[in-house]
């Protein structure tokens, strides 16, 4: 437990919210959970801060004055695979989907509790435990090296975000067996309960657009209706 807290201290969080009281309260509570918290009050401010410093994760409110959360999310995603957790006041499907489509790795809804948020951040930043196994998976022309976090298709590297990669690696590790939605939500996002399958659906869709030759007719990431997903090729 002490080692985990020590490890968390290394994590720096950029908290982007226009409500000062939320920033203060959440900042205090996250600090209690062991994170280093920096604050930004607007989209522009957030982008400036991210240029100056590097952070482990961004907590992004969607409703921001000026450059809104979705725009910030897209900009960050275009620059790299910095983990983004969206903080939203609306749980309505279109908002959540829009945030995830914009490239967010996960989302939490207000009123969020710092302990819950800390669990999400830890899951997102969790490094693969255990010794390096130096294994790789191969599906047709797709090669996955979990230890290096690298995916090749036809010899060329495909750039995936950390979450997309973990999703693909979980499916590959199952070696063609079905992985249920619950298992994926638990292993990739650390949801032990109440996982939102929309989260999974959007990430699967994004993963397909990157790894599949034809995302409309997937051969690597296959849906098993009513059960979950499995890695191809189809049998």
């Amino acid at each position: 437990m002490t080692t985990e807290v020590k490890q968390d201290m290394d994590f720096s969080v950029l908290l982007v919210d226009d409500d000062e009281r939320i920033r203060q309260a959440l900042g205090l509570a996250l600090a209690d959970e062991g994170f280093t918290v920096d604050e930004a009050v607007s989209g522009e401010d957030a982008l400036d801060r991210l240029d100056e410093d590097s952070f482990d994760v961004v907590l992004l409110d969607l409703m921001l004055p000026g450059v809104d959360g979705l725009q910030v999310c897209r900009t960050l995603r275009a620059q790299g695979d910095l983990p983004i957790i969206i903080v939203t006041a609306r749980t309505d499907t279109p908002d959540v989907i829009a945030g995830l489509e914009a490239g967010a790795d996960d989302y939490v809804t207000k009123p969020l509790v710092a302990s819950e948020l800390a669990a999400r951040i830890r899951a997102l930043l969790r490094r693969r435990g255990g010794p390096r196994q130096n294994i790789s998976y191969r599906v047709e022309d797709l090669e996955i090296w979990p230890d290096e976090g690298v995916v090749h298709r036809g010899g060329e590297e495909i750039r995936l975000t950390r979450t997309e990669f973990r999703l693909l690696a979980e499916l590959a590790a199952a070696g063609g067996r079905i992985v249920t939605r619950e298992q994926l939500l638990q292993r990739v996002w650390g949801y032990d309960y109440y996982g939102d399958t929309r989260l999974l659906d959007v990430h699967v869709r994004r993963l397909r657009t990157k790894v599949e030759h034809n995302p409309e007719d997937p051969v690597f990431v296959l849906t098993v209706r009513g059960a979950g997903y499995k890695i191809g090729p189809p049998r």
Binding site: D19, R21, I22, Q24, A25, L26, L28, A29, D32, M63, A89, R90, T91, D92, T93, T109, K110, P111, L112, V113, A114, S115, T180, R181, E182, D192, Y193, Y194, D196, T197, R225, G226, A227
Partner: protein, 457 residues
């Protein structure tokens, strides 16, 4: 205030009225036609037979006045047609020629009139055949001349005409009914469309509208309906937006409160006595308040959204097995009947149903003791059993209403929950076309039962 006898539908009333009207008119026409035609034809026939009889009478009178030789031949000659009968009543005998008819068939009153010197005519049945009898006295009281002309031909014609008229009348009545039914259905079609559109709106499809009508009688109905539907849709959208705004406005201060409370709770040990106790009260009530607001938002959202497009096949057994390790001690019995019980549903909502039932058992009955997912006649049945005091009969409906607080013995007292847990269960189950109710658990305690329609693979 229901009438004991159901009135037939408007459509059938219109059809019946039109049918009756047409029947009345045609039957009047038919009766008039019948009277005029039959009267005319009968009179024609009577006049012609009377003329014929007068000619014949003169010949017979001649023969009688010349003496009786040749009279029989003459009578035979006169009845050339086989369907007439001539009778000559004399003082002491009756001469008959032609078709043989009993002389008694001629009414005595008729003969009496002729005997007094008055020719007479009458329709009658002789041996079951319709005839017209012409009775004339022979000059100088030498007897009575009777000639019976058959009316069979005319009778057949009459029967044909009357059949035709009756058939025509009935047919026109039927046509009237058919026409009325068709016309009223056509006239009521906009009403049918209105019913369809109104029931779509009642079913939650606020986009349902009536097509524009060209007919000046119907245009106001369509436009009134459509503008009402527009207003309703806008109202619903406005309400939904308002709920969304309220939810957003409440969520922000709540976020601040729950996190500040978390920071305080961590330091509660540092605050002694009264301050610490007050802080404990404050932080636990903030948490409960947050839970209540979240549940309230969820239930008001459940009231609004109607999209079932996002429903997916879900394995209820899998949902229970996923929830159990987190919400239940490991010794709780979990039964899932194979094959995997699938329902069409929304995962988050069904997760909520399961979690809320388990939490409810924990809060009021010392915890769930058995969870079962079974197949029952095309339904998936979820049972959550507890070994608590049970739920009294009169409370079994009430506990699913909003803000009904459990007064059951064994409740923890301080942690009363949001008061919305079971209401959310009922709401979500209803959304899934299912039912939820409470039974007695065999061996004591309560059994919460949820039944949802099962889907095939």
């Amino acid at each position: 205030m229901r009438r004991p006898l159901r009135r037939p539908s408007l459509r059938w009333r219109v059809a019946a009225a039109l049918g009756l009207g047409s029947l009345l008119v045609t039957s009047l026409l038919a009766v008039a036609t019948w009277n005029l035609a039959s009267d005319y034809m009968l009179r024609q026939r009577e006049q012609s037979v009377t003329r014929q009889a007068q000619v014949n009478l003169r010949l017979v009178e001649d023969a009688v006045s010349k003496g009786s030789e040749g009279l029989t031949e003459l009578l035979t000659g006169l009845t050339t047609s086989p369907d007439s009968t001539i009778m000559l009543f004399r003082r002491d005998d009756v001469l008959t020629s032609g078709r043989q008819v009993d002389p008694g068939a001629v009414p005595p009153a008729l003969l009496a009139m002729a005997r007094d010197g008055t020719p007479a005519r009458q329709r009658l049945h002789a041996d079951g055949i319709p005839v017209v009898a012409v009775v004339q006295p022979l000059s100088a009281g030498q007897g009575i001349y009777v000639e019976l002309f058959q009316l069979s031909q005319l009778d057949r014609t009459f029967r044909f005409i009357s059949g035709l008229l009756v058939a025509g009348t009935v047919l026109s009545g039927l046509i009237g009914v058919a026409l009325g039914s068709w016309a009223s259905r056509r006239a009521l079609r906009p009403l049918t469309e209105l019913t369809v559109a109104a029931s779509r709106i009642a079913g939650g499809d606020l986009k349902a509208r009536l097509p524009d009508q060209d007919d000046p009688d119907l245009a106001p109905l369509a436009s009134t309906f459509n503008s009402t539907a527009d207003a309703l849709q806008q109202r619903v959208l406005r309400d939904a937006r308002f709920a969304g705004d309220v939810s957003h406005e409440l969520r922000s201060p709540l976020t601040t409160m729950v996190n500040a409370a978390a920071v305080l709770r961590r330091r509660q040990a540092e605050l002694p006595g009264t301050t610490g106790k007050a802080l404990g009260l404050l932080t636990s009530e903030v948490d409960r308040f947050a839970r209540m607001v979240v549940d309230l938002m969820e239930i008001s959202r459940a009231d609004q959204d109607v999209d079932r497009d996002e429903f997916e096949p879900l394995d209820v057994g899998g949902l229970v097995r996923g929830a159990a390790p987190l919400l239940l001690p490991p010794d709780v019995e979990i039964v899932v009947e194979p094959p995997p019980p699938l329902v069409l549903g929304d995962r988050r909502r069904l997760d909520r149903v399961i979690a809320n039932l388990i939490e409810n058992a924990g809060r009021h009955a010392g915890g769930a003791v058995r969870i079962a997912v079974l197949h029952r006649d095309g339904k998936v049945r979820l049972e959550v059993d507890d070994a608590g005091p049970g739920v009294p009969e009169e409370m079994r409906e009430q506990v699913f209403e909003r803000f009904t607080r459990g007064t059951r013995a064994g409740s923890r007292g301080t942690d009363t929950g949001s008061g919305l847990g079971l209401a959310l269960v009922a709401e979500h189950v209803r959304r899934h076309h299912g039912h939820v109710w409470i039974e007695d658990r065999p061996g004591g305690g309560a059994r919460f039962v949820v039944e949802l329609p099962e889907v095939g693979r």
